[in-house]
């Protein structure tokens, strides 16, 4: 799959999973929100998608920019408010295919860091209040965009596909800033697990709950749809059975030994 794929998978998967569920009004074109049911349980799907006509010229290709950050917060907080007295909190499913945060003068000027913080805080708050939050990675999950949209989930699921990549900086940008070719960067990154771009290397870090094999990640077949729905269903059951609503489940990876050791040392020294 080409690395310059258009990040339109979010829209495709939201439509596939949501079926006939309408997009909720009141959001910019780049943020799609739909409520549906999975296994009889209410769930809100949220995706950030390209909007070639966005008034913000640096946020037209599926990046998480100013409008997207604040609107993600709106989508999540409205679900929290609606379910405040509900016996069962709806699931919140972030469908992730985003190349990065938006880079631009407008963005920095108006505090894009704060817009992304609002989204991250909303997802984290939903999780702490008992909503099961799931991130479904269907394409790129990069850097600040992923921090805002997906990284606060109880469980992270990813399609097993070369187009699914998690990283702190896109390949082209990283190659440019380290003065290498993309091929050299990829070859080097493959030797250092946290730097690698592919989803299998990412899986060794222990942050993913499950990778889901699919036939066609960019355009799901009916089989793909049922496979993913089943995985989402399993993830919900796993979250429901978990007494903890924090991110401690991410600390088990073979390549996260230092993360565990630091916490153990802190805990042993905390009381003094």
């Amino acid at each position: 799959m080409s690395d310059t794929q258009t990040p339109a998978r979010g829209e495709t998967w939201l439509a596939a999973l949501g079926g006939k569920a309408p997009r909720l009004p009141g959001y910019p074109r780049s943020v799609q929100v739909a409520d549906f049911e999975i296994g009889g349980r209410a769930a809100r799907l949220i995706a950030v998608v390209p909007d070639a006509s966005s008034t913000f010229p640096r946020a037209r290709n599926g990046e998480v920019g100013l409008l997207e950050g604040w609107s993600l917060a709106q989508a999540v907080h409205e679900a929290i408010a609606a379910d405040r007295d509900a016996p069962e909190k709806r699931a919140i499913i972030a469908i992730v295919d985003t190349p990065s945060q938006a880079y631009g003068r407008r963005e920095e000027a108006f505090g894009i860091h704060q817009a992304l913080a609002s989204a991250a805080a909303a997802y984290a708050t939903a999780r702490l209040q008992g909503h099961p939050v799931i991130a479904l990675l269907v394409g790129k999950a990069m850097s600040g965009a992923f921090l805002a949209h997906g990284y606060q989930a109880n469980r992270i699921l990813a399609l097993a596909d070369p187009g699914v990549q998690v990283h702190a900086m896109g390949k082209e940008a990283a190659a440019r800033i380290t003065l290498r070719s993309v091929e050299d960067l990829e070859a080097f990154a493959a030797t250092v697990p946290p730097m690698a771009y592919d989803i299998d290397s990412y899986a060794t870090l222990g942050l993913l709950w499950r990778t889901i094999p699919v036939q066609h990640a960019a355009a799901p077949t009916p089989t793909d749809l049922s496979t993913v729905l089943a995985a989402l269903h399993d993830a919900l059951a796993d979250i429901d059975a978990d007494p903890h609503r924090d991110l401690r489940g991410r600390l088990g990876g073979e390549n996260r030994g230092a993360s565990r050791q630091v916490r153990a040392v802190l805990a042993s020294q905390w009381q003094g």
Partner: protein, 281 residues
């Protein structure tokens, strides 16, 4: 500032991370955890030919501030630009997690984060990014119980995923030397071109992302001189308050409305930003 005041002030900006933490905590109460002699250096740097630092660029110090139990997380901007790797990120997230646990057991531990950072350490990419997500989670958890105070002093400033962390803090203290932005100037110039963002134009950069502008536009809560005593006093005042019931990060309706009034076809000026975002009443 009077001449005597100018001469007697001690720069906070010029202090390293450990000295900053010592300066904020009540004398005699500083106790470093997971420190450099505990052997917790980066597992990823040496294989890439990068010399590690004993504390991986983060100091965790427990103590009191005006008698209140407080953990100070100080990032060392001089080491790899203050970028966060697996160990440094785990120190911050882990300490915040323990502070939240304290509060659940009835111990009112606060947290102060000294942001001097470019964000994720690229040599540790996904582990740095994941640890920052855990920092975000821990701040949102802890800030329900106690105010989480962020301080950005400069000269590195606060960028990348940690600028999001700054946006999650209950209160944010900045100096004139500080900068707060999501993307580093060089990366914006590289991605969007020099006409969009000139990374070598320092007045331009500070005019949009500097401490004074961020304070004037409601994105920071306190603006202080680069004076250690003044910064300590502001931090002490802020941690003594009860936790917030509402945070800036929850004001999406307000910010979307303001952005809706902006003609995005034009590049903004610092004054235009003050008009749009200032006056937060």
């Amino acid at each position: 500032m009077t001449r005597a005041a100018l001469l007697s002030r001690e720069s906070f900006v010029e202090l390293g991370a450990r000295a900053r933490a010592q300066a904020l905590l009540d004398p005699g109460t500083f106790r470093e955890l997971a420190g450099p002699f505990d052997g917790l250096t980066s597992p990823w740097l040496k294989r890439q030919g990068v010399v590690p630092q004993g504390d991986d660029g983060v100091v965790v110090a427990l103590g009191t501030i005006d008698g209140h139990p407080t953990v100070v997380l100080a990032i060392e901007g001089a080491f790899q630009g203050g970028s966060l790797g697996e160990v440094g990120g785990a120190k911050i997230a882990g300490a915040l997690e323990l502070a939240a646990e304290d509060n659940r057991r009835g111990v009112p531990t606060r947290a102060v984060i000294l942001f001097e950072t470019g964000g994720v350490r690229l040599q540790e990419a996904n582990l740095g990014l994941a640890s920052i997500a855990e920092v975000h989670a821990a701040i949102v958890d802890l800030r329900r119980y106690q105010p989480v105070i962020g301080v950005i002093a400069g000269q590195v400033g606060c960028f990348g995923g940690m600028s999001i962390a700054a946006g999650l803090c209950s209160e944010l203290v900045v100096t004139r030397e500080a900068r707060l932005g999501l993307n580093g100037p060089a990366v914006i110039e590289q991605e969007a071109g020099i006409a969009e963002y000139d990374s070598r134009d320092r007045p331009f950069i500070w005019s949009f992302t500097g401490g004074e502008q961020r304070f004037a536009t409601g994105l920071a809560d306190r603006f202080v001189n680069d004076d250690t005593t003044a910064i300590r006093d502001v931090v002490a005042e802020l941690i003594a308050r009860p936790p917030r019931s509402a945070h800036r990060s929850e004001r999406y309706t307000d910010y979307l409305r303001r952005l809706g009034r902006y003609d995005a076809s034009k590049q903004p000026t610092p004054d235009a930003v003050r008009d749009l975002l200032g006056d937060q009443t």
